[in-house]
Amino acid sequence: MRIVLGKEQIESAFKKKVEILSNQRILSCYQCGKCSAGCPIGYEMDYLPNKIIRMLQLGMTDDVMKSKTPWLCASCQTCTTRCPREIDVARVMDAIRIIAQVENRSPVKEIPIFNQIFLKSVEFTGRVFEVGVIGAYNFFSLNPFKDIPLGIKMFLKGKLSLMPHSAGNLRGLFKRVREKEKRSAVSDQLL
């Protein structure tokens, strides 16, 4: 594939958004590849982390958006810890996920669904309610019967509870965060 390069691409709005959201300077990267060398999930990625950064540098927005790499990133921060140019790569991946989520352009559906359900569970019970999370995830990812055989076995051995064990809800905290997000000029401007 041939890409067209110019001032427009180099100063793309997408790159600027990522830079502001992650508070990182994408042009600092000199492509040494240390992030990719240590990435524990690199073998599953369509583009290695350094290449995602390179694509950001050259304004290849669509390719970054289509890539599964940011969604596979486990935020283990190995890359962040090792980057010689002190770029927080994990945070850059996070920024890409946020933008994709807001613009509804995520290339994978399941991972954002899981993230949402996980957070909901935390919001209401203060911890993860396994049966609820598994059930809801399987339902929304259109595979409702997936874990039923194993689920029954675990239930019989007393490993799963049908009712959530509440550790006190965190609704107050989530509310404050949402309000803060709303007030924030950054997200206003960007998202």
Binding site: M1, L5, L27, S28
Partner: protein
């Protein structure tokens, strides 16, 4: 009967690890004339040399053979020890059993030992016929010649002059200053080039120890270290330097303005009578005969009419002066690669594809565009500029396999300057590797990318297409694995450095060597980086290899130190191993006269016997280098090379024959 001592060195395990030193010692014992034969771990060490000295004294030896490394390495060391023991230093022969034996025959130890024994035998045979030779001394002319008035030559001249010696600085162009005077800023500190160079140029002009010869070239070089005789051609300036006051009226009024200015890298015109740039030293114009109307048509003479000092002199002619020097510094600098050999960059025919030096002249506020970058095609300010590195560097197919060392940095500098001049511009740099190894260089390149937003693309450009009002640059970025296409307003080629076109000519005048790329060869790449194989001739700057300004200045100062060490000596020792003519045998055929590469043979009428005067060859002892070409070519066997006489060599061959 000769009394010979044989000393075999182990050189640690270098020799002893392959050659059976005991067997060599044993074999040497039986050779005719050998009184004593022994070995030692390191013969060149202090105890090793003392062993030789003491044995000579105790055994009353008169000749010595050392079986060790090459004569180039330690012959002088052992000559000195033989001399300290009271013998003539030339009663010594070296059998090279390291480079010629142990290092090359480690796979067959028995054969290696045999060869070592044979070499020792040869050396013993030869040393039997050695005769004492007397060292000769020559006076030193305490003056230095510096060829080339760029920053290297300027620095060398200033440093030699500071040591108290007289210097003549010869520059081909009308002014000193060289390439550095063409530059705008210097990386990585962004000092203004002219601001740091001009004071040095003025210092050269004002220094009492320095004589400046601009618009002059070296025409002939004779002689040897300490006593060079150099003919310098002063090209006709057609301006009387004594009368000219440097007012510049002649340049202003000259009607000829079609010639491209070499100083401005051909992006602007100059007059027929011109000074290359305003800060020129000396600030005296020259008339370029080829573009002057008067010389072409016989009419005009405008400059003569307007000159208030009556300095114009159309009758001047080239003048040859002969000067004597003790040392010569070569600092001839570099040319830039001609990019018209690259088809993918438009064969030099696309007007908006320019060289780095042309951009440098544009961006310089003293340049022809007053510091504005303008596209040559339509004079528009460029917005998107593509820089291409390694044009004529690291390209075997173009015969330029070497890295030019400065292009990465000057490209980064120019991209930065462009962004500073035009904040709206966007620069792209195509590179293969970034080589920024100097002090502060890597940080500079990173700053250019992060702070100035210059985008570096790792890859090459495949083609530049000329479109209606822009250039389409197609290439690749291997980091993203994508082919890329850039709509550019201008393309700047980082052309590499190559030796001056006249460099090989000068090398032949001086008898110094040059490598496959045309750069002058230093005596030793690590341990003698400013000397050449011709004693008394030194190198500074880019004529030796591409280098940046800090390295050039450092090398120039190093050269000056070497020149100082040479000129401070009272007199010079000359090797006595030179040719000798036996006039009784000479037929005067002039074979040697024509064969000698150093012009060290003279023909003279000599009275051989009473009343018998013949024209015979004579060796100029101070010029002869002892190469032996004359001896080999002499039909009458009238010439012998001292230290390598026919008798000595026949003795060696005899050893081989009777085995």
């Amino acid at each position: 009967m000769a009394r010979i001592g044989v000393f075999i060195c182990h050189c640690g395990s270098n020799i002893a690890g392959v050659v059976s030193v005991e067997k060599v010692v044993e074999a040497a014992q039986t050779l005719p004339g050998v009184r004593v034969s022994m070995d030692y771990k390191y013969m060149c060490s202090d105890p090793g040399q003392n062993l030789i000295i003491n044995t000579i004294k105790e055994q009353g030896l008169d000749r010595v053979v050392v079986g060790s490394c090459s004569p180039r390495m330690h012959e002088n060391t052992f000559r000195a020890s033989v001399e300290r023991a009271g013998l003539n230093p030339y009663m010594l022969e070296i059998a090279n059993i390291r480079e010629h034996v142990s290092w090359v025959h480690s796979d067959n130890k028995d054969a290696a030992t045999d060869k070592a024994i044979k070499l020792v035998e040869l050396a013993v045979a030869k040393v039997r016929r050695n005769e004492p030779l007397q060292k000769m001394y020559a006076a030193i002319e305490k003056r230095a010649l510096v060829i080339g008035g760029g920053i290297a030559g300027i620095q060398a001249a200033l440093d030699i002059a500071a040591n108290g010696y007289k210097v003549m600085l010869v520059e081909k162009e009308p002014s000193i200053g060289g390439r550095m005077s063409q530059l705008d800023k210097t990386f990585p500190t962004m000092d203004c080039s002219a601001c740091i160079l001009t004071p040095k140029m003025v210092a050269v002009a004002q220094n009492k120890n320095i004589t400046l010869q601009t618009y002059a070239e070296v025409a002939e070089v004779h002689g040897y270290v300490g006593n060079f005789e150099v003919k310098i051609k002063k090209k006709a300036r057609f301006v009387n330097m004594a009368k000219c006051i440097g007012c510049g009226v002649c340049t202003e009024k000259c009607p000829s303005k079609k010639t491209l200015s070499e100083f401005n890298a051909n992006i602007a015109a100059r007059k027929a009578i011109y000074t290359p740039f305003p800060q020129a030293v000396p600030n005296i114009p020259v008339i370029d005969k080829d573009s002057c109307l008067y010389f072409a048509t016989g009419k005009c003479k405008v400059c003569e009419k307007v000159c208030p000092a009556e300095a114009i002199d159309y009758t001047q002619e080239d003048e040859i002066i002969t000067e004597r020097f003790g040392a010569i510094v070569v600092a001839t600098g570099y040319d830039l690669y001609d990019h018209s050999r690259y088809g993918e960059y438009g064969y030099g025919e696309i007007p908006d594809v320019i060289t780095g030096l042309q951009l440098e002249r544009m961006i310089n506020s003293g340049g022809p565009t007053g510091g504005h970058v303008k596209r040559p095609s339509d004079g528009k300010e460029p917005e998107t500029v593509v820089f291409i590195q390694c044009v004529g560097s690291r390209d075997d197919a173009k015969g330029k396999p070497y890295c030019s060392r400065v292009c990465c940095m000057y490209t980064a500098k120019q991209a930065l300057l462009l962004k500073e001049h035009y904040p709206n511009s966007q620069a792209f740099v195509f590179y293969m590797d970034i080589r920024a190894a100097g002090k502060g260089y890597e940080e500079f390149v990173q700053r250019v990318q992060t702070e100035y937003g210059v985008v570096y693309l790792r890859g090459r450009v495949s083609r530049i297409y000329e479109k209606k009002d822009h250039l389409l640059v197609k290439g690749v970025d291997t980091l993203s694995g994508q082919q890329v296409e850039i709509k550019a307003d201008m393309v700047v080629l980082a052309t590499g450095l190559e030796p001056k076109k006249e460099a090989q000519n000068l090398a032949q005048l001086l008898h110094i060597g040059y490598d496959q790329n045309g750069f002058y060869t230093e005596l030793h790449p690590k341990l003698a980086p400013v000397e050449t194989q011709i004693a008394g001739v030194y190198l500074a700057g880019c004529c030796q290899s591409p280098k940046d300004i800090p390295d050039t200045v450092a090398q120039a100062s190093a050269t000056a130190a070497k020149v100082g060490a040479l000129l401070s000596q009272e007199s010079l020792e000359i090797e006595p191993m030179i040719s000798e003519v036996n006039p009784l045998l000479c037929s005067g055929c002039r074979m040697c006269y024509h064969a000698c590469p150093y012009s060290a043979i003279e023909m003279e009428d000599k009275e051989i016997r009473r009343g018998d005067v013949r024209c015979v060859a004579k060796v100029l002892t101070s010029v002869c280098k002892g190469c032996g070409v004359c001896a080999a070519g002499c039909y009458c066997k009238a010439i012998d090379l001292k230290g390598w006489t026919d008798r000595q060599l026949m003795e060696e061959i005899g050893v081989l024959r009777y085995r």
